[in-house]
Amino acid sequence: MTSSGVPGPAGTALVEVVGVEKRFGTTRALRGVGLSLAAGQCLGLVGRNGAGKSTLVSILSGLSEPDAGQVRFGGQPAPRVGDIGSWREWIATVFQHSMIVPALSVAENVFLGAGPALVNWRTMRSRTSGIMREWGFDIAPETPCRDLSVEQLQIVEIVRALARGARCVLLDEPTAALERQAVVRLFDRVRQLTAAGVAVLYISHHLEEVFEICQDVAVLRDGEMVLTAPTASLSRDDLVAAMVGGAHGQAAAGGAGGQPDQPAAERQADEAAGRDELLSVDRLTSDSARGRLSGVSLQVHPGEVVGVTGLLSAGVASLGRAIAGAEDYSGGEVRLRGRRVVPGRREAAQRAGIGYIPEDRRSEGFVAQLGVAENATMTITRQLSDRFGLLRPARRAAAAAPLTSRLSLVSAGPGQPVEELSGGNQQKVTVARTLAHRPSLIVAITPTRGVDVASKELLLSSLADVAASTGAGVLLCTDELSDLTVCDRVIVLVRGEIFTEFNQPPFDRDELIVATEGLTGSTSSAAYGTAGEAGE
């Protein structure tokens, strides 16, 4: 495991990272990472989730300090961390999430935090439009940024980088929120930048993009730089192999719960119409900020565990949230046992029988200052209370006990506030809350994020158990491929559309990765469409 630098033209490195280490607690996020970027070079940086990309981005942007090692600009040590002004003269980052202030104009955003104390509006505007003209962009400097599209906001961020004279631009997942045509235009801009001698560090999950515009590619895996090579010398398989590493070739393991032939017990005699389908989603479209959906249809049968996966922006989370009633959608419909579920109303979806394990437990999963038992039973207060609506704490604790013991939830007692628990136990509270109301469908979104390995196994197997023993369906929306081992089927989303579906566990990890990147695999999976058609 060497930390090789780019064997680029010697002495001309504009940005150099040498032996950088970064720890977070016991996790070594970066281990002796080296990287070198020359003027006019476009270097792709790829790696799976958790490989250390974001840590490296934050170090390169001057936002956090490495524990060891050095960042060098033009051969000199980089400015002090926090001295953002001097840092920006060398490298400017266009983050995945827009750093534009919507209420301010384009020109103000371009010069935000820079320039003299007294604002000279005329100079600011003329310099902004000068840079726009020079690079062939046409956004009026006085336009308020809230009126701009995502693509235009990105241009403003690029212009901001250029206005500071940055010689290197770091693009972090720049295509995540862009439509296909906009991606093509972005590539033109990147080529324009490199042609003018600007170095570009291009971070992306989409391998095909890296092949298209990067001369070189660097691969991070588990905090180490495992490969740095010209893209022309690599095949797609080589790149995937470098990303996946030791796990390469290993199957993602067999379906843990097996394939239940027949759900053990159906709770209600179903209506004739919905006899076989528990959940039926028909041409769902959404403009959600978490990822657009354009016409997603799928079915889940009783007792079935269906995985939905894809890249960050592919719409995996928005699909789960739309089905669970946690957010509204613009078209299509969701039916549970043949009955239409009211869109965008969580409590209606819950009454219909849809359980929801949200993506971000801190923001939606629990009420921090309330106790474990109270949180775990929050979905069933109506059942637990008497006819006057009174709710005895003892009754609540009794109702929570079987759930918490089933999930091996560790707490000081039913009254302990959830904020005092560890991340894994907090997630168990959220899962308990969902299981409590005996849903006929559970929508779980990245349920194992930030959870330790032991709890991860337990959470996943508890979901599979519920499916097998009660005949509930589970829709597991996740970008964590190892979670998909419990699934009977896996649906892969690319840019808000179903790209392909894997019906036969065990699922091949590499094939899944390839599919999430929007590349057609050579294998058994039936392709529903191609990435080329997506998003138009």
Binding site: A326, R346, E347, Q350, R351, Y356, P358, S363, E364, G365, F366, V367, A368, Q369, L370, G371, E374, N375, M378, T379, T381, R382, L384, S385, F388, G389, L390, L391, R392, P393, G415, Q416, P417, R433, H437
Partner: protein, 361 residues
Amino acid sequence: MIPNQAPKGPVRTADRPGGEGPVPTAAGGAVGSWLRATNVSVLREVALLPVLVVLIIVGAVVSPAFLTVSNFAGIGQQSSALGVVVVGEALILMIGGMDLSLEGTYGLAPMVAAWLIVPIAGYGDGLDLSPYLGIVILLAVGAAVGLVNGLLIVKARLNGFIVTLGMTIVLAGLQNGIVKAQTLFNLPGPFGYLGSASFGQVPVSLIVAVVIFILTGLFLRYHRTGRAIYAIGGNTAAARAAGVKVERVKLGVYVAGSVLAAVGGLMEAGRVSAVTGQQGYQEGIIFNVFAAAVIGGVSLKGGRGNMIGAASGVILLGIVQDILDLANVSNYWIEAIDGAVILFALVLARVVGGESTAEEK
């Protein structure tokens, strides 16, 4: 147990002069078991007790009239109207909202009711309605104001601060407008009963206020909707994800808060045997309402607070006011001292209450 018991004793001494005065009983006796049940920091709960003790000692030194049954009955009667409004505001604060217009409702609701029941000679409108019907109208005015606020804030999603600020001014304007800034005297007996009658030495308004505090406290602790209030204030998104009908509960709380403000207004009208144009907005009672709630540990960010704390905040303000009166502090200075004591109490509650009472950095 030591830190818990030490302040408990002095509360009992405060209890003695009032005889069977129910407020100190609620604040003192139930504290221990309540604490164990609610898992809140002991220190935080009793944060105000030492201050109350000091105030009582100060009061006893300032005037021999302080430690008398009649004085405490007076404090009780004066504080109960404020206390009932504090209950309403505390509920609204706990869902993470705020309502400045409770002071407007506190003035307008009794004014409308009195206007409809007092004869023309007393500046009424001449309908001469039954005083009992007047009380129903008073409650209806409260509910209507709360409903409008709630709809604007919860459904139309307007900013609660500015909606209720605007509403306050509208209500105060109506209060003076309908009677052309006259004061309505000669309120019929049943209408003034709540604020003026007493059982022996114990004012009826105090009994009613204590009952409202206790019932609201029990409701918050043991009722499904009460728990939903904590959940919504603590984390609205999580409550919604758990199927809580967030909008409905919030709307209900705005209505309940305004109805309680109307009841407080009725007590005040009965106490002074009149409805004046000043009642509420022009007296600026909303500052005292917020101060009592916050001193009592109700979080302006929502999700935290309880009726014991709110009650001790009200008692503290009542005692301070009483001491200032007894000490014959010049009218020119009374407001400055009143405000300074409130600020001091806030600092103290913050120091003793710990991080949970702190604002975000």
